[in-house]
Amino acid sequence: MSSDLLDSEISTGLALEVRQVTKSYGNLVALDDVSFELRKGEAHALLGHNGAGKTTLVRTIAGQVVPDSGAVFVDGALVSLSSPRDAQVCGIAVVDQELTLLPALTVAENIHLGRRDARFFGAATDRNGKIASLLTRLGLAHIHPDTLVAELSLAERQLVEIARALSRDAQILLLDEPTATLSDVEIQRVFTVVRDLLTEGRSVIYVSHRLGEVLDLCDRVTVLRDGRRKATRPVAGMDRAGIVRLMLDEGAVEAARIPRREGNGDAPSVITARGLAAPQLFSLVDLTARAGEIVGIAGQIGSGASSVVRALAGLVPSCTGEVAVDGHPGSPLGTPIRSARAGIAFVSNDRKSEGLFLDKSITRNLVATRPRQTCRHSVVSAKRSRDLGRQLCALVGIDAKRAEDPVSSLSGGNQQKVFIGRCLEHPEVKVLLLDEPTRGVDVAGRAEIHNLVRRAAAGGAAVLFVSTEFDEVLDLADTVVTMFGGRVVATHRGSDIDASTILAETTHGSSVRGVA
C-alpha cells in the first residue's frame, strides 16, 4: 500500500496530502482536480456548500469513495484508501456527517466497533477505564460505558460518535459536521479535547457550516466551490465576512439577485401551518404559502427544515400543531395518504430510496400518482398512460422516445426531473413540497429543475422547498424562511433578502441565540 519511492519528494511536514483528485458520477463532476494539504498539528477547515464537492472529498479521505484519478499520501507515503478499514490502517479516524452509532449496542461496544486492533475477547468492555475518562472529558461523565446507545439523546450520541474517533488514537481526525446537534457548552468541550490532540502533533480536518467554530478552532481554511478548490488561506486575520466572500460567488454577493416577484399578497393562502412541533426535531413553526408563491426554507443539517416539510407530507407521525390546506383547518396530516388527499405532493431529498421506482419505466414513474388521469372506466388505459407519459416527458425535457425505458437508465439530474415531473400538471396537487430539489444534480440540470419548480408555481400551486444551499434559496424563493436549531429564525419576503443575512441566520441562528 505504501511506496517508498516518493518519500523524498514529499514534504515531511504534511500529515495528509490529496493530489489532483477527480471524481465524477455520470455527468456530474463532483471533484475536479482537487488538491488538499493537511499539516501536522494543524486544524484545517474544509468549507463549501452542498454540491461544492466537500462531501466527496471527505469520503475520499475516509475511504468510502474511490476517486477516478489522483493520489492520496499519508505521512508522505502513497496510500490506497479503498475501504473504511484502509483509512483506519492509515491512522485516519472519521466522525461521519450521519450518525453511524448502532443503537442496539452499548457505548463501549460502539466505541470499539470496527477497530482493527480490538481483541477477540473483552471487546465490549472498558478495560482500563479509557472510555470512561474520554466520556468524562467530553462531559459525559454520567454515562456508563455499558449504557445502550438507544438510551442516549441525540446530542449525547453525537458526542459518543466523537469519542469513538478520538479513541482511535489516530494521527488524522476527520470531523464532518460534528456539532450540528450540539449546544455551545458541548461544542466547547469537544474543542478542548481536539485542541489537546493538536498540541500532541495530530491533525484535524474540520468540516462545518458554522463559521464561528471555524474561526475559533482552525488554523487554515480551504474553500471548495463547484468541485474545485477555490482557495486555501490561514484563518488568522480573517473574519466571517471574509470567509463568506470566499464561499460565495462574487457575482452573487454583489449583484444581489434576479428580480424577485413580490408575491401576490391578495392570492389566497393555500397552506397555512401553525405551531407545528415534533419532539427532538422542531418546535413552534409557523408557515404559510399562497397560490403561485415559492417559499424557500433555508437551514443547515439539523436545523429541522427538512423535518418540517416531511411533517407536512405526513411522514412525521409525532408532529402536532395545526395545518390548513385551502382554508380547511385541521390537525397535522399524520399520514402521507391524508396529505396526498389534501392535495400535497412531496419530493423527497432521497430520490432512490424514497422517490423513484427505479426498475419501472419513466412513464410508470411519471403517472404513479395519477390513477384518475390514466384510467378509463376504472380500467388502466395503456394509451392514456403512454400519451400522458410522453406529454410529461416533453414537459420535463426528457426525450419522449425514452418514455418506456427504466428510470434507472437516466442520469441523476434526469431522474430528479422525473421525480418532480410526477407532481406537475397534476390536477389534484395544490401544494408542492420539495426537500433539496437539486441534490446531486449538475449545474445545467439545476437550472432546468428550478424552471420546473417555477412552472409549478405559475400553474397556481403553492411551493415550499428546503435547501441547505443559500444560492438555491436566493435563486428560487419568493419568500425565504430561515431555520436554526429546530426553530424559525426569520421570514423574509420579496426584496428584503440578502445572502449574508441568510448565511448568518442559518449558521448561527442569530436571532435565536448568540453566536458561538
Binding site: N128, L148, A340
Partner: protein, 341 residues
C-alpha cells in the same frame, strides 16, 4: 467505576432486555402454582423433559435466533437439523462420536455455502434458505430412501438420555454448554458485538469498518453447527433418523426466539434471552400437558403468541397508533380527491 463486576453488568443488561426473563419467571410461577390448584402433579420429570426439549428444539431455536440477530432469516436450519440426524446415524454406526463429528462438518459446509451466497451475492436469505431447506429435505429423503434409518446401538441413547441430578441428561448438558459457549461469544467477544452491529445497521457497520461479509459466513456456519448438534443428538437419542421432521420444530424455534426478545429487524436480542424464551415456551407446553388441555390449545397459544409478537414488534405500530388517535378534524378532503391517496 470503570470495570464493574460481572453481576452488575448482567443486571444492566437484563434491565434493558428484561422482558424474556420476566416472562420466564412468571411462567415458572404459573407452572408451579396452576397445576396444584387444578389438582395435577408436577414432578421432577417435567423439568427433565424441559431440558430434553432444550437439547433438540432449543439448539434449533438458538441457531435460528443467531441469524435473526444479524437481521437474516434462515429457514434452512430445519433442513440441517434433519440432515445432520441422518448423517450421525448413518456414519456413526460404529462410533457415535464419528457420526456426530461428520454431521457437524457437513453442516458447517452447508452453512458456509449458504452464508457465502447470502453475503457475497447479497441474496435475500429467506429465499435462499428456503431453497436450501427444500434441497436438504430432498437430499435426506434420497439418502434414506424416505425411510426412517435405525441406529442399532441403543446404549448410546441410554447414555445420552440417562438422568443426572434428576433433571439433566448428558444430551441436555451438552446442549446447555454449547448454548453457554455461544452466549459468551455473543456477549463478550468482538465477533458477537459485530454480529449485533450488522443486524442493527449494516450500512453503518460497513462504514465503521466491520467485516460484514466474513462475519455473515461465520455466523451461518455457527447457526448450522448448532442445529446440526441438536438434530444429530436427537437422532442418536431416538436411535433413528426420521427423514422429515415436519415444519413444527421451526414454528417452535421461531416462537421461542421471538419470546426471547430478538427483534424481527435484527440487532437486538441475546442468546440468554433466547434461552429464556425456549424455557418459557417449553414450560408453557409442559403446562398444557400437565393441565390436560386438548391439542388445539397448544396451536392456538403458539399462533396467538406469534401474532401478538408480530403485532407488538411491528415497526409501524407507533405511527399507526398516532394516526389513529387523531382522525378527527382531518384536513380538507373534497370527495373528488379520495382516489388519489
Amino acid at each position: 467505576m470503570t470495570t464493574r463486576p460481572g453481576m452488575a453488568r448482567l443486571a444492566r443488561r437484563s434491565r434493558r432486555g428484561g422482558l424474556p426473563y420476566v416472562l420466564l419467571v412468571v411462567m415458572l410461577l404459573v407452572f408451579v402454582v396452576l397445576p396444584v390448584v387444578a389438582g395435577q402433579q408436577v414432578t421432577s420429570f417435567n423439568y427433565y423433559n424441559l431440558f430434553q426439549v432444550f437439547a433438540s428444539l432449543g439448539l434449533l431455536s438458538v441457531a435460528l435466533g443467531l441469524t435473526m440477530i444479524a437481521g437474516e432469516f434462515d429457514l434452512s436450519v430445519l433442513g440441517t437439523y434433519a440432515f445432520a440426524g441422518l448423517v450421525a446415524v448413518k456414519l456413526g454406526a460404529d462410533d457415535p462420536v464419528v457420526g456426530l463429528l461428520a454431521a457437524l462438518v457437513l453442516a458447517a459446509l452447508i452453512g458456509a455455502l449458504q452464508g457465502a451466497l447470502v453475503a457475497w451475492f447479497r441474496l435475500p436469505s429467506a429465499a435462499v434458505s428456503l431453497g436450501v431447506y427444500i434441497a436438504l429435505l430432498g437430499l435426506t429423503a434420497t439418502i434414506s430412501d424416505s425411510k426412517t434409518v435405525p441406529y442399532n446401538n441403543l446404549n448410546v441413547s441410554d447414555v445420552l438420555d440417562r438422568q443426572y441430578l434428576e433433571i439433566f441428561s448428558l444430551r441436555s448438558i451438552i446442549a446447555i454448554l454449547a448454548v453457554a459457549a455461544i452466549a459468551v461469544t455473543m456477549t463478550y467477544t468482538r465477533f458477537g458485538r459485530d454480529v449485533r452491529a450488522i443486524g442493527s445497521d449494516r450500512r453503518a457497520s460497513l462504514r465503521i469498518g466491520v467485516r460484514v461479509d466474513s462475519i455473515l459466513v461465520v455466523l451461518f456456519v455457527l447457526s448450522a453447527l448448532l442445529s446440526a448438534l441438536g438434530g444429530s443428538m436427537l437422532a442418536l437419542s431416538l436411535a433413528a433418523a426420521t427423514p422429515d421432521p415436519g415444519f413444527d420444530p421451526l414454528i417452535f424455534a421461531l416462537t421461542a426466539v421471538l419470546l426471547g426478545g430478538v427483534s424481527l429487524r435484527g440487532g437486538t436480542g441475546t442468546v440468554l434471552g433466547i434461552a429464556a424464551g425456549i424455557l418459557t415456551l417449553s414450560l408453557l407446553r409442559e403446562l398444557l400437558t400437565v393441565l390436560a388441555t386438548p391439542t388445539y390449545v397448544s396451536s392456538l397459544a403458539t399462533g396467538g403468541l406469534l401474532l401478538v409478537v408480530a403485532f407488538a414488534a411491528a415497526p409501524g405500530l407507533n405511527a399507526w397508533w398516532l394516526s389513529m388517535r387523531r382522525p378527527t378534524k382531518r384536513v380538507a378532503e373534497p370527495p373528488s380527491l379520495s382516489r388519489v391517496g
